[in-house]
């Protein structure tokens, strides 16, 4: 079939008509070899490498004037183009949904993140079948496709063995997936997903996720070329860096020793000057001031200055390593002689740098989402507890830096991640490299571009139409505008002239250079119920929020609010925002936070969860809901003569989790409250041999968030020990670490058996049963359910 004869807009492409001749026997029959040939990609179609980093700011990479060395980004920019007016949505999943589908995030159900599937169309976290990601179009048109790293587009409750898998990467356009489904991952102990299977935590002591991602990508590209000499490929390289936990080896973080002792105020000034020298911001740009919500560096004491400086050293090393790994992939492509005809789009950040570490930063980001209030002093003590500053960035902590570093990393703009009303949350660097695709090298492009433009650009570049039908379902048109026109024309008038922004009530409306900034008056790291009460239905009127207006052609950084001088423009853009909001399912505002406002799903009815055999890697968002009330864990064991040892069941690690295990012949239970406190109980006698039932019962003081309670351990129904847990984890033990039966994969909950990890049970675990039926009053149950929804939404904001 000739290329012209193929209708590439309806996928899968229908089989071509048989052009040969069929007789009763081969006698006289004419073969048609084209009939069995695979669908070819368009002639000379380039490979495509799409790189996306996480939670990173405009002013972070050296390529855009920042302090973090990014030689790969620089190399590509020198051979290609920098874009200094590229925009994201200001939050993880929404940006990824927009990137993959070429459509506005609310329109594809991602007004919020994958961890929270809300009950309104713009917040369902379910990619609609009529808005399929563009890789599906590439895949159906002769491309080999693969995704490596962070996905974050599969709802939290669909990440297990039962599926459904229709929103996992394999189902939406990727031949191969290797990475993690959620919003974050440990860099040393990820739970790796390969295609539709959780393969678990790598046991190699030297494993480091970003390095392994590059290895896998290179291996895949080599494999594609080995088996298909002409087939173009599309690789989506989506790093977990630089989302928390900020983890990187010393060899990377130590490169920056002392580099940030000057503090965030000075760093920002220096970055701003370099940005001007590089020309990535105009010479007349103004540096926006520090918000009063953040402290001046000079006001800090010595301990905090040093702690914070180390936080940024680790973050910088983490980022540089990510760029280095992108470089390894680029080198591999170059070595194969394919870099000239590979379109590389390298986006530095899916939103602005993250301020979710609060002002102090935290040794364990899960403390923030669990609403565990820690003072400055406690943070320092917990850093001390888990190994001091040298351990910041290693696997003993799950750290996130201070919000003020994020602000500095978003230089020269205001605010950061979540704040869709301002450029600190939305504007990120982008570099495009494609020697055979355009002529200019080292140029700068300043046309307004947005993440929804990437899909249309790639399709246009490779010569494919946007699909009108996929799997029999008519597709909605993409909302993005290809920016291919700008590659060869720096002065071309911009074609994407209007764009709404909205995340968590923070609104922006861009049109023809004007930007209406309509921020919901909430400090981004404040997500407690008290704060959110101000935005409850009937209390909050978004129309009354303060409004700012900027004219970006004259004011690159949003430094001069001209709302008072142009009231008519303010009104025009407000009106336009509401029209766009209505059109793209943005409404109702705050539908991603329904849990805080009394709109909760029906209470689940399943109260017992039974795990037979050695089930492993249960996703952290799918473990039994044991939080905030009484529960029990019962296990049927087979203990050989001479005894057994090892883990019966364990969730997550020492920074939050529980483990029921046998050691020194005794039944033991360790419960870690976010790495802040540990509670341990053990039996007063050894376990007998043979068939044994053990049970851990937690009797909560009251059904309330973070309740304390009494633990009793039983062996064959006889109480054998116990003790108290003063505080329990109210929302979630971990953002990524899973639950295992018969072992404790990854980092252990109990450091006392760390030298034996994963401390597999040497007897046999026949089954483990969780009973989470708390036998509550209806009122208590509803109250807890409400809390669980709030916690979920709170976690989602930070994901």
């Amino acid at each position: 079939m000739s290329d012209q004869a193929i209708d590439r807009s309806k996928l899968p492409i229908r089989r071509p008509p048989f052009q040969g001749v069929v007789n009763r026997t081969l006698d006289g029959s004419q073969p048609d070899w084209n009939f069995i040939a695979p669908i070819p990609a368009p002639k000379d179609a380039p490979n495509v490498l799409l790189v996306l980093t996480d939670d990173a700011g405009f002013g972070n990479p050296s390529t855009f004037g920042g302090p973090i060395r990014t030689p790969t980004l620089e190399r590509l920019a020198e051979g290609g183009l920098k874009y200094n007016r590229f925009h994201t949505t200001a939050l993880c999943s929404p940006t990824r949904a927009a990137l993959m589908t070429g459509r506005n995030h609310h329109a594809v159900g991602f007004g919020m993140v994958g961890e929270f599937a809300g009950p309104f169309p713009g917040y369902s976290a379910n990619l609609p079948k009529d808005c399929q990601p563009f890789p599906k179009t590439l895949q159906g048109n002769g491309y080999s496709t693969a995704c490596f790293g962070k996905w974050h587009l599969t709802p939290d409750n669909m990440q297990g063995t039962p599926g459904p898998f229709d929103r996992w990467p394999n189902a939406v356009g990727f031949d191969y997936f290797w990475g993690f489904l959620g919003g974050e991952s440990g860099q040393f102990d990820p739970v790796i997903i390969e295609n539709n299977t959780a393969v678990g935590v790598p046991e190699d002591e030297d494993f480091y996720l970003p390095d392994a991602m590059a290895d896998k990508t290179i291996e895949w590209i080599h494999g594609v070329r080995a088996h298909g000499s002409d087939k173009p490929w599309f690789a989506y390289f989506s790093t977990g860096a630089s989302h928390a936990p900020h983890q990187v080896r010393h060899e990377w973080s130590d490169k920056y020793k002392g580099a940030f002792d000057k503090g965030w105020d000075k760093l920002r000034e220096e970055t701003f000057e370099r940005q001007k020298q590089l020309g990535v911001i105009p010479a007349d740009a103004e540096l926006t001031p520090r918000s009063e919500a953040m402290p001046a560096w000079d006001s800090l004491d010595e301990n905090h200055k040093r702690l914070y400086a180390r936080q940024m050293e680790v973050y910088a090393g983490y980022c540089e390593n990510a760029d280095w790994n992108v470089g390894r992939v680029i080198d591999a492509i170059d070595e194969m002689g394919e870099l000239e005809n590979t379109l590389v789009i390298y986006i530095w950040g899916d939103n602005g740098a993250s301020m979710e570490g609060t002002l102090t930063g935290t040794f364990n980001e899960l403390t923030t989402l669990n609403g565990v209030p820690l003072t400055d002093e406690q943070q320092l003590q917990l850093v001390l507890k888990w190994g001091g500053l040298e351990a910041w960035g290693g696997d003993m902590m799950g750290p996130h830096y201070s919000a003020a570093w994020a602000w500095a990393g978003d230089c020269p703009f205001q605010w950061g991640k979540q704040v869709a009303s301002h450029l600190g949350g939305t504007r990120d660097p982008m570099v495009v490299h494609w020697p055979e695709g355009f002529r200019e090298q080292g140029g700068l492009r300043s046309q307004f571009t947005h993440v929804i433009d990437v899909g249309p650009t790639i399709l246009e570049a490779v010569g494919l139409p946007q699909a009108t039908h996929i799997d029999g379902i008519e597709q909605q048109p993409m909302h993005g505008t290809s920016f291919l026109y700008s590659l060869d024309d720096a002065s071309a008038a911009e074609r994407h002239t209007q764009q709404y922004f909205e995340i968590l009530g923070n609104r922006g409306m861009y049109k023809d250079g004007w930007w209406l900034a309509w921020m919901m008056p909430r400090i981004p790291w404040n997500i407690d119920p008290e704060t959110l009460k101000r935005f409850a239905p009937g209390v909050w009127d978004p129309e009354n929020d303060p409004v700012e207006l900027y004219y970006l052609p004259d004011d690159f950084t949003q430094a001069r609010n001209v709302a008072e001088q142009h009231p008519e423009k303010v009104e025009e853009l407000k009106k336009l925002f509401w029209e766009e909001a209505d059109k793209y399912q943005v409404l109702p505002l705050l539908a991603g936070l329904t849990g805080f406002f009394g709109m909760v799903p029906p209470i689940p009815t399943q109260s017992t969860f039974t795990y037979y055999g050695d089930v492993q890697n249960v996703a952290s968002g799918m473990i039994p809901r044991i939080y905030n009330h009484s529960y029990s864990i019962s296990a049927d064991l087979e203990i050989p003569q001479g005894g057994a040892e090892g883990v019966i069941v364990a969730e997550a690690d020492h920074l939050g989790g529980f483990s029921l295990y046998v050691q020194d012949g005794k039944l033991k239970h360790t419960y870690s409250f976010c790495g802040v406190l540990e509670f341990r109980q053990e039996s007063d006698r050894p376990l007998p041999a043979g068939s044994v039932n053990v049970r851990m019962e937690f009797a909560a003081d009251a059904p309330k968030p973070a309740t304390g309670g009494e633990v009793t351990l039983f062996v064959n129904d006889e109480p054998v020990g116990g003790g108290r847990i003063e505080h329990t984890v109210p929302a979630r033990f971990s953002g990524y670490a899973g639950m295992d039966i018969g072992r404790d994969n990854g980092l252990p909950v109990e450091r006392g058996y760390a030298d034996k990890s994963p401390f597999a049970f040497t007897g046999r675990v026949k089954k483990v049963v969780f009973d989470v039926n708390p036998h509550l009053t209806e009122e208590d149950e509803q109250e807890l359910h409400d809390h669980a929804q709030q916690a979920l939404a709170g976690h989602a904001i930070n994901a």
């Binding site: 003590q381 507890k385 001091g388």
Partner: protein, 171 residues
């Protein structure tokens, strides 16, 4: 030396130089006789949990090896096994046992043992309780302070035991 009740403070640090700075500040209090200090020691707990004494100072604000009973009291209350290497040499057996017993019975052990995580530096000092505010200010860079008490009579007895041991009469 005073017979009044005394505080035992262990201050934990993220940074060794800041621990040293606070050590010097407490020593200055002793030298100036602002308060009554029995002694002060600067220690380091290694990653395996073993404690090493880096520097010592006495009730007169003097640094160095000439250990008086006050410094021995500080070391003994914090980590009795260290007495052998620091304060009373080979004749440490019985006096070490006395310190260990006192720590257990008074509850000091429970408070002190976890006060200094592995890998951290610390300043430990014993002083008359009325000087608590001054010491608190002097230990400005500590990220964690654990305080226990010892009555003046017990302190006196422990010091006497140390003196005997150092004189070779005890054991």
């Amino acid at each position: 030396m005073s017979d009044d009740q005394k505080d035992v403070v262990i201050a934990a640090y993220l940074f060794d130089d800041l621990a040293k700075k606070d050590f010097d500040a407490v020593l200055k209090l002793a030298e100036d006789k602002t308060i009554t200090v029995e002694g002060v020691v600067l220690v380091q707990k290694d990653d395996e949990g073993e404690v090493h004494v880096t520097e010592t100072g006495d009730h007169l604000g003097r640094k160095g090896a000439k250990l008086g009973g006050g410094v021995g009291l500080v070391v003994g209350l914090f980590a009795p096994p260290l007495l052998a290497a620091t304060a009373v040499g080979a004749a440490a057996g019985a006096v070490t046992g006395r310190f260990a017993k006192h720590r257990l019975e008074s509850g000091i052990a429970e408070k002190m043992d976890d006060a200094l995580p592995p890998g951290s530096g610390g300043v430990i000092t014993v002083y008359d309780s009325e000087g608590a505010d001054s010491v608190d200010k002097a230990l400005a860079n500590a990220v964690k302070k654990s305080v226990a008490q010892i009555d003046g009579m017990s302190a006196k007895k422990l010091k006497a035991g140390l003196a005997e041991a150092q004189a070779g009469m005890g054991g």
